[in-house]
Subunit: 519 residues, 2 copies
């Protein structure tokens, strides 16, 4: 998808060679984008039917408040109605018809053959960053500081190097960019310059969409090219729970649907605060909220891709604060993946939203448990899945590197194992038992070493004595080393110098060429 | 089950009061021993049938080497045969008959109403320590030192305080006790003095069994009482993979079966070293090895409780070393839980065998992922589940405290959520949406605060600013504090002074009264 010529500012063994090597290596590994989940089913079929019925009842009898005039008009024309409380209500039969025409899947494309497209639908599972935190963890002082555009760029080029993260979604807000248009265009610029993996971003302002599309078309090779093969999906939260629309994001949803863009929303009521403390009640409410958005999108443009992104958050009821790392959270997100499959809709959920402020053991187990359960439940895109700390308050590059290894373990579980006459290995067992008595040198062992087993990048498997002799490092120490190395050396040349010059002349790009390793 | 009077050495508000408080609190919590798993099924029904068929073929046509004369005699009388390689082979029909008469479940009892019995069978899930490591992590120098009897006692009294660990299995070897009889009797003594939770231990020597049973009978209230309500199960590894018996542990298995004790074995071939690198082949082999042990036990005493404990380990094929924290490991252990359910046998698996040497983020995610997948797959007892580090080379009290919180999250996922008219909360949603607009003060929220949500003991959920003001601690720091406090204050009075004096006069007890907080 790249246009123009290769940037001349860096030497190397050639872009094509590097891509070919990467492609060859990734084909062998047991994990990849789009593995098949669905072997974990937290809800029974009866549970799913009850939740569906409750959600439809909520939509028909309680409805959603604060619809814009535009949405009220288009929805009532299609069969919705405004009730005596001024709330927009959706008859069950209408919602069912709209579910039936909704997109069952969509693809967010990669811009390089070295990376996989993200196919969103069925039981395919992909892991992505996102989070839009407002701070970054300083790994030395162990304090959080305001995040910047440069941080977002660093996150992107780090994701570019991490094999188990399949999509780069917006990790942090560039707080220094107060102007919403400037903000949105710079986030879009980072998306295309830091990585060629599929991306996700959120428009703060509906008025940024046209300019961003122009930018993406320039990258894609000309007007109208982006939409043919979109490499970015567009976030936003059109619902303010419980059961209200939020005007700004609803406007983005409407405009995106008119344009046929991928509406990659998230609906995040918080059990015990903006949704019932009874977990099933939260599932019913968030399902209703998700179906309301799906209805609007499909009233505007039947089949327009939208993520059925129902993300029930959990409160710590001792404080009322959001808690992202709990078992309740893992359970509810996995349940939502299953609800999405019930409707056969493309889904996302959130995972890895640890409450820890550091990449410590707490972050490890909270992330590991939420990541693997979401995947096994068959969530199509698992967002927030790398780098986030402090209940989404902050991001950490070191955590992202550690999470890449964590996601590898989760994906290896997902990848499952093949049971057939060859893998059951009865002849191999017989030969070995009657022969050498161990399998170490057996041809099967050697041939399966790379295809069946995943090796971590920084996680330590050395013997205790070796580890002690290296100064007893923890994985945070190893992650710091990896981050320093990547930030010092990895300046991706994902768009040409000519294109970059054009973008900089047309849009208010604030990311310096120096930061990007350009002369 | 306690005999004699309360020890006078410590004051307090009364044992009964403490127990009642603990009982009341544990009844409210959403997690407990014996939650129901089985919602995650890594293998299909066809996979299970193929693995069964392969295991039966292995048992009939390859067989197990190195059976003792005693075992050969009893097995051939029952229909097994010795093949031309001198291997003991089991016809499929014989094995199927023995599976049919095997115990479907057993119970390891608690000695206090404050703790649950561990029911092993069906889809019940319980988490336990174990591991028999030879070193302990020094949390200050970050080095491993040889483990002692006092370490084992400290592990036990720490487990006594950790709600999410349901059984105390032997974490470390007291290396200073070289005499096997002295070793075994002291391990047995620690099991009964450090906690009243259900226990597990391993006999190093078959000749220790009678003396240990005498000790347990004294605790249980007289000769023959222990077996009526056993509070200890007995480990051991009767198989040396691939497909050989190990003499010492086979002798323990035979003797335990004759006595009707719970044989709580573990069979741990290592994929790529002592089992095929093809994961399905490892499952076939370990299933055959497990069924061989089950056959022996049920030939001796039909229905004698035995854990179908097939524990496939994984090699890092770059080094050949055991790696316990991998995705392959999580996947295979979950598969073995499912194989156990296929036969309807009581199972154990191993999880949480992190390769990290520290309770860091790596330990966190490796433990979290392996713990939750084993539970969701419905493993009845999940061993090694707290405190183990360095691929089972070492144990850490701090890791154990952290793992207790980790196991809480895993168990909260397992506990699932209830979907019914009340929990779907349509009326609560309607009232809230048309009323205050949030659920914070709703009676439902308050009533479900303790029953539906689990709160961690040391995991941090504070806001980043609060956390920074406390010096940016990680969970390892918090665990050190908790361990110091428990070791300084928690001296359980689980047996009376009179009984203790009797045990000390009868058996070679090496744990000092001073260490146990006694005068």
């Amino acid at each position: 998808m790249e246009t123009g010529t290769k940037k001349s500012r860096r030497k190397g063994r050639g872009r094509e060679g590097r891509i070919a090597l990467r492609e060859a290596a990734s084909q062998k590994r047991p994990v990849k984008a789009g593995l098949i989940g669905g072997t974990y089913k937290p809800l029974t079929d009866t549970d799913l039917e009850k939740i569906n019925k409750a959600a439809l009842e909520i939509l028909e009898t309680i409805g959603i408040a604060d619809a814009t005039q535009e949405v009220v008009e288009l929805a009532t024309q299609k069969g919705a109605f405004v009730n005596e409380h001024g709330r927009l209500c959706f008859p069950a039969a209408l919602v069912e018809d709209l579910i039936a025409v909704a997109a069952k899947s969509y693809t967010v494309h990669s811009r390089s053959s070295a990376f996989s497209d993200v196919v969103v639908g069925g039981y395919h599972v992909n892991y992505a960053t996102s989070g839009e935190a407002v701070t970054m963890l300083d790994p030395e002082s162990l304090t959080f500081r305001s995040s910047t555009l440069e941080d977002l760029y660093d996150c992107g080029r780090l994701v570019d190097t991490l094999d188990n993260i399949h999509q780069f979604g917006q990790t942090v807000i560039p707080n220094e960019l107060q102007d919403l248009f400037v903000h949105d265009l710079n986030v879009a610029y980072v998306a295309i310059t830091s990585t060629q993996k599929p991306c996700e971003m959120t428009f703060q302002d509906v008025n940024s969409i046209d300019a961003a599309l122009e930018m993406f078309d320039m990258v894609a090779g000309g007007p109208g090219k982006f939409i043919e093969r979109p490499f970015v999906s567009f976030g936003g939260c059109p619902i303010v729970s419980p059961l209200k629309f939020g005007e700004d994001n609803l406007n983005v949803l409407v405009k995106s649907s008119r344009l046929g863009l991928i509406s990659d929303i998230a609906i995040a009521p918080q059990a015990g605060a903006t949704a019932p403390a009874a977990l099933a009640g939260t599932l019913a409410q968030v399902t209703a909220e998700g179906l309301a958005c799906l209805s609007i999108v499909n009233m505007i443009r039947p089949g327009c891709p939208m993520t059925f992104a129902i993300w029930p958050f959990v409160s710590d009821l001792r404080t009322g604060a959001f808690s992202g790392g709990s078992g309740e959270e893992a359970l509810m997100m996995a349940s939502c993946a299953q609800i999405g499959r019930y409707y056969d809709l493309p889904t996302s959920v959130a995972a890895c939203m640890s409450d820890s402020k550091l990449p410590d053991a707490q972050a490890g187990f909270e992330k590991g448990i939420t990541a693997v359960t979401a995947g096994l439940a068959g969530a199509n895109r698992i967002l927030e899945s790398a780098g986030m700390l402090g209940s989404l308050m902050g991001c950490s590059l070191e955590a992202m590197v550690i999470d890449n290894d964590m996601l590898g373990v989760a994906q290896r579980v997902l990848a499952g194992l093949e049971v057939n006459d060859e893998t059951l290995s009865i002849d191999v067992i017989r030969e070995t038992v009657l022969g050498p008595g161990h399998y170490l040198g057996h041809p099967q062992t050697i041939s399966r070493m790379e295809t069946d087993f995943l090796y971590p990048e920084i996680a330590d498997r050395s013997a205790p004595g070796v580890w002690e002799s290296e100064g007893s490092p923890d994985i945070f120490d190893q992650a710091k080393k990896k981050v320093r190395k990547v930030l010092k050396t990895h300046y991706p040349d994902h768009i040409s110098a000519e294109l970059d010059a054009k973008l900089r002349s047309k849009f208010p790009i604030k990311l310096s060429k120096e930061k990007m390793g350009m002369k």
